[in-house]
Structure formats: C-alpha cells, structure tokens
Subunit: 115 residues, 2 copies
C-alpha cells in the first residue's frame, strides 16, 4: 500500500481526468474515515473531526490550512464549537483527483498528531 | 445609535428570550451587510466575506475565532479559497440574541481592519 500521506499534490488543470469509480474504491481503504459524497453534481471527500472545544477546532483548521497552502490545494473547512468538517475535491476537474486522497491522508495525520 | 461593536456578549442560558421580529428590525440597520436566514427552524445572522486568496481567508477565520473565544460566543466559520461565510446565532435559545448582533458588528470591524 502506497503511503498517501507522504506524497505531494501535483498541479491539476481542467482536462486532467477525474478518478474513475474503480480508482476511488482502490484509494478509499487508505482513508477509511472519509465519505465520498456528491454535492452540486461533484464528488467530494468529507470527514468531520471532533474536538473538546472551540480553541482546538480552530487550531486544527489552521494546521489543515497551512498544509493546504503548502500543497497549493485548498479544502472547505467548516469550523464550529468542538468540530471541523473538511471537504476535499478538485474544482478544476469538477470531482476527485488523487490529490484529494493525498490531502485527506495528510489531514488524518494532522489530526493524529493533535490527539 | 448604540455602538454594537464596542459592546460585550453577555452569558446566555436556555430561557433567555430570543429577540422579537421588531427588535431584529431595529438592530439590523447597524449590521446592514448581514442577512437574517432561517436554518433548521432557527434564525441566524449570515454574511460572506471576500478575500484575494486562501491565506487571507484563513487569517480572517483566525481573527474572528480569537474574538469568539474572548466573547465566549462561537460562530460557524466556513473557510474556503477567497471567502469565509460567518454564521452567528445562539444555540442555547435556538435563535437570535443581542449577542449575535454585537458579534456580527465585531466581525465587520475585524474585516475593515484587514482591508
């Protein structure tokens, strides 16, 4: 099994192919806490992370935001008291790319390091 | 006109009355960029703030989060590339309290200071 969390997101343009359903099923076991959901007709990876308070949720949002800047790939982060919902998908291709799975694995790693 | 942004949020418990429609209409002109929306049968104040990039959006999220901790009143912050949607309401009473208008005015002030 490849270590997704150790990989880097690659530049991605319109025209880059989306992952097929088969490719998604191959990658998903490496980020088993994430759900593939469809919003506005685009597939996304979503996971909600729990925290003891607002401060920790905000710190997590920051840490994920910093990683996003490093990878030049940006999620939607919904921060509220005690939880953060993270959504990864690739706007440019209107769906999921391997980058999203790499970023999801890195997000899991950030969470583990905080727990 | 009272300066909402200069006021402090007060502790609020179940049983504290929600603002009436009339009181909401009196306060809203002081935060004219905010919408009163109803989600899950509870009124909320919502505003989406625009930024040039992800970094600025993340900084704003942090600044609003810090103010929220100071006021001990916490919004939902949806952070994405170039924008942050802020929602204020008072969970304990299932609707809007004067605290939400104070917090909205403080949020506007944070945004002005960044622009």
């Amino acid at each position: 099994m490849t270590d997704l969390a150790g990989q880097k997101c690659v530049p991605c343009r319109p025209g880059t192919p989306k992952l097929t359903a088969e490719e998604i099923q191959e990658l998903l076991p490496q980020v088993p806490e994430w759900d593939v959901v469809e919003r506005e007709a685009e597939k996304r990876l979503e996971r909600t992370f729990s925290f003891d308070d607002y401060r920790q949720a905000l710190t997590f949002t920051n840490n994920v935001g910093e990683m996003a800047e490093e990878q030049d790939h940006h999620p939607v982060l919904v921060t509220e008291w005690g939880k953060v919902k993270v959504s990864w998908w690739t706007h440019a291709i209107g769906g999921l790319h391997r980058n999203d799975f790499i970023a999801a694995a890195k997000t899991d790693q950030i969470y583990s390091e905080m727990s």
